[in-house]
Amino acid sequence: MHELSVAQRIVEIVEEQAAKSGLARVTAIKVRIGKLSTIVPEALNFCFGFATEDTLAAGAELVIEEVAAEARCNSCGKTFPVTEAYFLLCPSCSSPDTTLLKGQELDLMSIEGETPDGEKPDDGRTGDVTPKPGDNVQ
């Protein structure tokens, strides 16, 4: 049950970011969770409710994007889904020399909220700032 400590970390980052961006209240938080990350989305959601209590993210919605696991074979170059049938063994050529590409994510993507007087974003950004799948996470 490390979901509670993960939820607490999320809230810490959210508070930091909200302060930086001048958000008075946070209404939605988007996270990306890999299938191999050991985080159970339902458990995280459950803990999130407790972790946000009495914070500016109280009542916020946690939007979880699950990421399927994927690996690349260094021998034949093929990319394949990591499944319980073969895990990291290449299904095409049976090589064990493979690299996990996706599936271990535990990333905070974006937050959504309200500025004190309900004003529009003041960062000059317009349009959709939702992170794209290819975005690099620091």
């Binding site: 400590s5 961006s21 958000l23 990291l88 620091q138």
Partner: protein
Amino acid sequence: MKEVKVLTKVLKANDMIAAEIRSLLDLHAVPCLNLMSSPGAGKTTLLEKTAKLLSGSLSLAAIEGDVATSLDGERLNAVGIPTVQVNTGGGCHLDATMIKDALQNFDLDKTDLLFIENVGNLICPSTFDLGEHVRVVLLSLPEGEDKPLKYPAMFLNSSVLVLSKVDMVGWNVGTLAASRANALKVNPRLKVFEVSSTEGTGLKEWADYLRALVVEKKRGKRD
């Protein structure tokens, strides 16, 4: 309504402290192993036996993580491994901050090899980088050969597998071959040791591996 792009790893703070710890250990040429397993797979017993084999030639140290009690820490201190006990008070894993704090108690210039025994748990500890160099997962024969398939993250995130309690083969508790095969299926790159701490099987290979780690680390520092 305003949307703010964040794009950060949730455990970034932990990862940064872990990286700090790793550089500190590198600076002092101290290899560090993070031992993880289900409760009771034999982590402490393996460390007790390791002390018997290595403490004549190497100075060992350990950080012992448990939810409660200092029982394991006392066991390791009793066999001559200076050990700092960390209690997580309910927490299911150690994190990098706990290791950073515990490290204050050691003189790293007088330490050759550091062990971290994580909280007995086959899931959560694999998510938290502690700044170790090698992640070791123990799988004891009685746990059953299906465990690598059911808890793949732990096996994926480790580079060494110790198949422990191999003396219990014959107790109808899952077979050694299947345990090994399932673990290698999840992570074909695992380096595998088959060990019985009670009978002494495989302990020499394990000790040789640890000695080699120390030599390699010290050489890396000189170069």
